[in-house]
């Protein structure tokens, strides 16, 4: 726990600047469509990783807010023809909905499994509802919801105030990368603030934090709402990448996938979920290109193996291994030193 507090306080700025530079220079050497998608998934995983890894709250249906962000963007953009208001709404609406659901759960003292059901059920309700909205009767303003076919052909992001300059391709990549880096810094800042310390305290021992006078449900509702806003932003960016939104954004598959990324990458870190999303996302895209092995077979096997063999995830396991190695190297050096001293003193004895 101590080391975690230490690392939460001391951001490794060298690494962060290096990674930021790599991400910003990537378009010079590679196409940007796949990296954009991976960065969007990373942002989504980051939002769940922040809430689950530090607040100890597992939402089984985090995809609800991802999909809500995407749909909100698409519907608002179609109605206003301009993207700025749509982008802001796509962040605010998921945050608001999550605040209501979160308050209902946390003030109701609903425990972990039951919370899992409620969050999952909410995603399923949205999935079923959006799937049943085929036909002209279901429209919001000028946007037809379109059932399982979803909403295509909505206006893409544009430079705020000027609808003639659209952002897509490499431009979209830069927007996504800036959002990802910004959210990462925001998460780091939250965790190093007093709010973040209390949040980690709630994860460790909720009863003790409450006895110290903190209002745990308020803190949990706040982080739930905040990470839902991040997921909404990721969903909005995804809508711009895919240029269509469909009910599968809310689906069981999307809910599972983000959990797998976070678990595999590592709970209790911020870089872990990002890394998990990038690695498993690349694997998924690679598997999608061939038909020999079924995609879900591999993802399922990975999830089972990670839970059994690396229950703490990739990044924490590597970090623990490095600490162990450093310690044993230091230990060996120290014991070698004492042996040498003993040897030299021993030599003087007759």
């Amino acid at each position: 726990m101590n080391s975690e507090f230490a690392s939460a306080g001391r951001t490794r700025w060298g690494w962060f600047i290096f990674l930021a530079l790599v991400l910003l220079l990537l378009p010079l050497v590679s196409e940007t469509s796949t990296p954009t998608l991976l960065a969007i998934w990373s942002l989504f995983a980051l939002s769940l990783g922040l809430m689950w890894g530090y607040g100890g709250i597992l939402s089984f249906g985090h995809a609800a807010y991802f999909g809500l962000g995407a749909y909100t963007y698409a519907i608002t953009a179609m109605n206003t023809g301009e993207s700025t208001a749509a982008l802001i709404l796509a962040i605010l609406l998921p945050a608001l909905v999550a605040a209501i659901i979160g308050a209902m759960m946390f003030y109701g003292r609903i425990s972990d499994v039951y919370m899992g059901v409620i969050t999952l059920v909410f995603a399923l309700i949205l999935f079923k509802f959006m799937g049943a909205t085929a036909g002209d009767a279901y429209r919001i303003g000028s946007a037809r919801l379109g059932g399982f076919n979803g909403i295509p052909a909505f206006p893409l992001l544009n430079v705020p105030g000027d609808t003639s300059i659209q952002i897509f391709g490499t431009g979209l990549y830069y927007v996504v990368v800036v959002c990802l880096l910004g959210c990462y810094l925001l998460a780091r800042w939250v965790l190093s603030s007093a709010f973040g310390r209390v949040l980690i305290g709630i994860r460790e021992n909720e009863a003790r934090i409450e006895l110290l006078g903190y209002n745990a449900p308020a803190y949990k509702t706040a982080i739930f709402s905040m990470t839902a806003a991040m997921a909404g932003l990721a969903g909005c960016l995804f809508a711009n990448w895919a240029e269509i939104v469909t009910p599968s954004l809310f689906g069981l598959g999307q809910c599972v996938e983000v959990i797998i990324w976070v678990v595999a990458g590592g709970l209790g870190t911020l870089i872990g979920p990002v890394l998990g999303a990038v690695l498993l996302g690349m694997l998924k895209l690679l598997l999608g290109e061939q038909t020999l092995i079924d995609n879900s077979l591999v993802l399922g096997a990975i999830l089972v193996l990670v839970v059994l063999l690396l229950p703490r995830g990739l990044v924490p396991s590597v970090m623990a291994w490095r600490t162990r190695r450093d310690r044993s190297v230091a230990g060996r050096a120290a014991s070698a030193g004492t042996r040498r001293r003993r040897a030299s003193t021993g030599a003087e004895k007759p």
């Binding site: 759960m105 059901v117 399923l124 079924d294 990670v306 059994l308």
Partner: protein, 288 residues
């Protein structure tokens, strides 16, 4: 009058469907506090087993009532030995690992049977109720559900096996000091739960065509039914099956089936908010 009878029958059928598909999950959750998210895929494999047997010329009742539970029970035994037994007491980890298993099984079945729907005709023909054509096979499902729940209750309440199982769940230490190995009890309980899932899958197979992804349709409903029911295996499952089945069908008849399902899901949220420990956390506390 006929219409009322049809609605009534459909409600009873829905309750039976929920109770049957949730029984396996309820045994494993209620007795062991383990949530098996691969439950839907166990049901799906039970269905595939029945269809494969029926196509191979085996009597379909033998296939669904005997072979499917056996096959799926064996798979459950395998899962318990290889994965679940390492994770007892870690509820979230168990859920994640079994979720992984569910994806794995979907992948395997896709590999073996392909991603196309398979089906088998129902062995009981329909009948006429007034001016309505009814599926006769639904009555068979209702009968199987009643017998399953009744059998489970008798087993847990009145037999030595049931006593040992309940004892090991209440206090593993006491059971083990009396000479019963709790680990073996867990193993057989999980296997029995899987066999019940296989039975449900086999019996339901003739009703709907099966896809490798069909398990997803069962897991959400079963999960909600069991968790809302709470810790008591039979009283919990029955009470939530009755509530959800009734609401689902009444709303479905009033509007569309999708709205019915949404009403059921929304109701689950409300019930859990009012009773955070499930229905049997508040009522029927001392039942099996």
């Amino acid at each position: 009058m006929d219409y009322a009878a049809v609605v009534g029958l459909e409600i009873v059928y829905m309750i039976a469907f929920l109770a049957l598909t949730s029984a396996g999950l309820a045994v494993v959750f209620g007795m062991m506090r383990v949530i098996n998210l691969a439950h839907g895929e166990l049901v799906m494999i039970g269905g595939y087993t029945t269809i494969a047997c029926a196509k191979a010329g085996i009597n379909i009742y033998l296939a669904m009532l005997v072979i499917s539970p056996l096959v799926v029970g064996l798979i459950g035994l395998l899962i318990e030995r290889l994965v679940v037994r390492h994770l007892y007491g870690r509820m979230i980890d168990t859920m994640l690992a079994t979720w992984g298993l569910s994806l794995l099984m979907v992948g395997l079945v896709t590999l073996i049977f392909g991603n196309t729907a398979v089906s088998v005709p129902a062995p009981i023909s329909g009948y006429q109720l007034g001016s309505f054509q009814m599926g006769g096979y639904n009555l068979f499902i209702i009968a199987v559900a009643v017998l399953t729940v009744l059998g489970l209750w008798l087993l847990l309440r009145f037999t030595r096996v049931g006593l040992i199982a309940r004892g090991a769940m209440q206090s593993a230490d006491v059971a083990s000091s009396l000479g019963y190995n709790p680990k073996m009890v867990y193993m057989w309980t999980f296997t029995a739960g899987a066999a019940l899932s296989g039975l449900a899958g086999g019996v339901l197979a003739p009703l709907t065509g099966l896809l490798p992804s069909s398990g997803g349709a069962y897991i959400a409903k079963a999960f909600i039914t069991v968790i809302t029911g709470g810790a008591a295996v039979i009283a919990g499952t029955l009470s939530s099956a009755v509530i959800f089945g009734t609401i689902n069908q009444l709303v479905s008849f009033g509007s569309t089936p999708v709205i019915g399902e949404i009403a059921m899901l929304a109701l689950a949220v409300v019930v859990l908010r009012l009773m955070p420990q499930g229905i049997t956390g508040r009522f029927f506390k001392n039942s099996a």
